[in-house]
């Protein structure tokens, strides 16, 4: 049995660009923005970074292939740099590379940087591209909202949920995220909205309306990680450590085998169970202090609450409507606005979630600060409900 990642790696510094429609910025500008903040936060020089990972998903839209764009943009001194891509879970994948490098002892200090520049397509929503020569011959020509909307139909059927109740809970999720983002200067969408606004919005992919969908944003986020000893040696106190970092990838059972019912993420359930075990969490609903999940669509957030065991199966609608996940609820979800309102520059999103947890655990979250958080959890997902990549990261005070 592997000993796991718990407390082997700590965060030395983090940075995050302003997310949004960054008409002013190239992907390279966004990289510099998050890197500068992370570098200052860590208090090191770029020459102290032993290895780096670049996470970017739709590279043909902006920086192109390979890790070279990161190395060139940041003038990294001929160190090993790797580019990773794993659908919308790309950001967490970059972090995983850096964390594993430090945990293995191969690197003292490693960096993960995620970036995406999406607003150069000429239209709203994610860029539509080929999904591969064979997939294009038989996959539906689906959009992201279309694929995630499937969850709503299957969830309703499974739990006998009323269409209106589900739609209302989904609306509550979006209203809450907008309210949270209003307190976040780096967030893309900072306007408050009402449940009425959500319910009246134009339909995108039934039953998902415009306000059930997250922002398509430009942005970048960066993490610099090291060992607890090196961090202390550099004068860091109140270290935030990685407690768990788990990934589960679909092997085709959901989409090809006859057991999955379409109403949940098989991968998230597995990744979450592994992460809780790695971190030593036994009662997630009581123990997790706050969570940032992959709320690409309101319905994704809803079912994920159950997949992460924060709500019992079939009870997420009630928990959401009860305010359990609101900013002043028991387990605040998307305290920074989430993908919904902080925005979703794909390669950056997983790192952006950890950035918020790092701020919260360091007591630097400003207006959004929660009292004495212990466990901060992030959930970063990529793909479609029927075949996807799901990652769960848990951070907390080192040694706690």
């Amino acid at each position: 049995m592997a000993s796991g990642i718990k407390d082997k790696v700590v965060i030395l510094g983090m940075g995050c660009s302003k997310f949004g429609e960054r008409w002013d910025a190239n992907a390279q500008d966004l990289m510099v923005e998050s890197f500068e903040e992370a570098l200052k936060d860590s208090g090191i020089d770029r020459k102290q970074i032993d290895a780096a990972w670049l996470g970017t998903a739709i590279e043909e839209q902006h920086v192109g292939k390979s890790a070279v764009p990161l190395a060139m943009t940041l003038r990294l001194p001929y160190i090993p740099v790797t580019r990773v891509e794993n659908y919308c879970a790309t950001g967490t994948e970059a972090l995983r590379g850096a964390v594993y490098a430090v945990a293995s002892g191969a690197a003292d200090i490693a960096m993960a940087l995620g970036v995406e520049k999406l607003k150069d397509t000429g239209y709203g929503g994610l860029p539509q591209r080929s999904r591969g020569a064979l997939n294009d011959l038989f996959w539906p020509n689906l959009s992201a909202p279309g694929s995630f909307a499937q969850l709503a139909a299957a969830y309703r059927a499974k739990h006998g949920a009323n269409k209106d109740d589900l739609k209302r809970a989904m609306a509550h999720i979006s209203v809450k995220s907008h309210a949270n983002a209003a307190k976040n200067a780096k967030a893309h969408l900072r306007n408050a909205i009402t449940e009425e606004d959500v319910l009246r919005a134009p339909m995108i992919a039934e039953p998902l309306g415009l306000f059930d969908c997250c922002g398509v944003s430009d942005g970048s986020a960066c993490a610099i990680v090291t060992t607890p000893d090196i961090a202390r040696g550099l004068g860091k106190k109140d270290l935030v450590a990685v407690k768990a970092l788990q990934l589960a990838v679909s092997n085709g059972e959901e989409v090809q085998y006859d057991k999955w019912d379409g109403s949940y993420f098989a991968t998230t359930r597995i990744a979450a169970a592994r992460a809780y075990k790695e971190a030593g969490i036994t009662r997630p609903r009581e123990q997790v202090s706050l969570v940032d999940v992959h709320d690409c669509f309101s319905v994704t957030e809803l079912v994920t609450m159950e997949d992460l065991q924060l709500s019992a199966e079939g009870t997420a609608i009630r928990d959401v409507l009860d305010g359990f996940f609101d900013a002043d609820g028991q387990v605040p979800c998307q305290i920074d606005g989430g993908l919904k309102c902080f925005g979703h520059p794909i390669g950056a999103s997983g790192l952006r979630m950890v950035y918020e947890m790092y701020l919260q655990l360091s007591g630097r979250a400003g207006e959004r600060q929660r009292a004495a958080p212990v466990w901060g959890m992030t959930h970063n997902l990529g793909g479609f409900p029927s075949q996807n990549v799901s990652s769960v990261t848990i951070v907390g005070q080192y040694g706690a």
């Binding site: 239209y123 011959l137 038989f138 020509n141 499937q150 059927a157 039934e206 998902l208 090809q256 029927s386």
Partner: protein
């Protein structure tokens, strides 16, 4: 008539949508007020994802039913609107039907007589042959043809067995009488004056062919129980019947009010309708007009090769369409702004299509010999986590299976010629599942659990290189 040779079974297909002619007349009345008189009844129109090939596949499936497809030796696809000029259309149909490659396939084209000609050749041959006739003709907006044409297909299985009907004789008159024509670089037909077509064409050429045929067969005109002759001219069937001495009661309805004229398919479609009504021993006379006339005399047998759906079923499975603009955009007559999402380049790798042709065109998946799990697509390792056997799967054909909707959405963001795009997960009865496009959806009845069937359709098109990709979609199985 055991072990006789003849038509063993028949099938038909009509697109569900029936354009209301009064909508065509209303849209074009400002320009062509003469259309108002034709603004009655309805005509079958193909959906955006249908063409001559997809309709042919559906008619063939209706005709073949559960018969042994392995026994087929020939497949002919007759049409004047084959999607491909080079790439045999019949071979695409054969692949969709999951037929053996040891098969003589051919396209019959170039005339409205293509369907009757192919049927004569099959009935005068000795091999088990599937004759399919399918047509989807374009017409200019505001033209008579737009009113009169219809889209549809029919299929006849010919071979040894207990026929539904056998051929008593056939005769063809080949005459270069140009009542209408279409050269290769044109989308629509050019026609001459109707009165001349009736007087010099139908009323002279058809009676001559009929008279030669009946004389040779030694059958009196009065003995014909069903007279099948396409033709859109008013009452031309009755006039020809009278001139030939055929009983007035034998004249079959050309289905103008409910289908329209389906071109090269129409004689076979009308024959299929006649076979649904005919009694053993009755004689059916078929006349196919166009650059002369094909005439066939058939005798109805005792075979019970009734189609599963047939013409009656196809007529009943209908949806009234009054959105003329939508239809114009489907046929390409109207060039709508499709938006930037439609600009995605759809190049097809022929290598990939060829390697996976059974899966893509035939909807063939796998069934694991080790654990029995049915799955799509067929991968090297079995999907069952308790099995994961390597190379353990036999072909498993999903196309004739029904299924149920497990999840769905109406996607208004992605590009579709007919938004929103309905797609979702289908749980196939008997095992296997797939995330697939839906077609022919009735929005109000769409829900989890809806029974669906598989239909062969156009998936998308590559306008840059002029290619069409086909795949299977799920369509509601039964309608109330």
């Amino acid at each position: 008539m055991a072990n006789d040779f003849g038509i063993l079974s028949f099938g038909a297909y009509l697109p569900r949508a029936r354009m209301q002619r009064k909508a065509i007349a209303a849209a074009n009345g400002w320009f062509a007020p003469g259309l108002k008189g034709q603004g009655k009844g309805e005509r079958a129109i193909g959906n955006w994802d249908e063409d001559t090939i997809t309709m042919a596949v559906e008619a063939a499936r209706d005709c073949l039913g559960d018969t042994d497809r392995g026994a087929l030796r020939q497949v002919v696809l007759a049409s004047t609107t084959h999607p491909f000029d080079d790439r045999q259309n019949a071979t695409v149909v054969a692949t969709a039907l999951h037929l053996s490659s040891a098969l003589r396939t051919s396209d019959a084209a170039g005339s409205l007589r293509a369907g009757t000609g192919a049927l004569i050749a099959a009935l005068e041959g000795r091999e088990r042959c599937l004759v399919i006739a399918s047509d989807m003709r374009r017409a200019k907006a505001g033209s008579n043809q737009e009113m009169q044409y219809g889209d549809g297909a029919a299929a006849m299985l010919v071979g040894e067995g207990t026929p539904v009907a056998r051929l008593l004789g056939a005769h063809t008159e080949s005459v270069d009488f140009v009542h209408q024509y279409r050269m290769g670089d044109k989308d629509t037909d050019y026609g001459w004056e109707e009165r001349w077509i009736r007087d010099e064409g139908y009323l002279k050429i058809v009676p001559k062919a009929v008279s030669v045929l009946l004389g040779r067969c030694g059958v009196e005109p009065a003995a014909v129980a069903h007279f099948v002759m396409p033709g859109t001219l008013s009452r031309v069937q009755a006039a020809v019947a009278k001139k030939c001495g055929l009983p007035e009661t034998a004249v079959r309805d050309p289905l103008g009010a409910v289908v329209g004229d389906t071109g090269a398919a129409h004689a076979l479609l009308m024959l299929a309708a006649a076979l649904e009504d005919a009694k053993p021993g009755e004689k059916i006379l078929v006349a196919g007009f166009g650059e002369g006339c094909d005439a066939l005399l058939l005798e109805v047998g005792t075979g019970s090769g009734a189609a599963r759906r047939g013409v009656k079923g196809a007529l009943a499975e209908r949806r009234e369409e009054s959105n003329y603009m939508r239809w114009l955009s489907f046929t390409g007559t109207l060039d709508l702004e499709r938006g930037m999402r439609a600009e995605v380049d759809k190049v097809t790798a022929m290598t990939v299509l060829y390697r996976n042709r059974d899966m893509i065109e035939g909807l063939v998946g796998g069934k694991c010999r080790a654990c029995g799990t049915v799955q799509f697509p067929r991968q090297r390792y079995c999907v069952n986590p308790e099995c994961n056997a390597l190379d353990s799967q036999d072909d498993y054909v999903f196309s004739e299976r029904t299924g149920k909707v497990l999840s769905y959405t109406a996607d208004g963001l992605t590009y579709s010629p007919d938004p929103p795009t309905y797609f979702g997960m289908v749980q196939v009865d008997g095992g296997g599942r797939m995330l697939m496009d839906f077609t022919e959806v009735e929005p109000a009845s769409m829900d989890v659990g809806l029974p669906v069937k598989m239909v062969f359709r156009i998936k998308d098109a590559d306008p840059n290189r002029g290619f069409v990709r086909y795949f299977w979609k799920a369509a509601p199985a039964a309608r109330s």
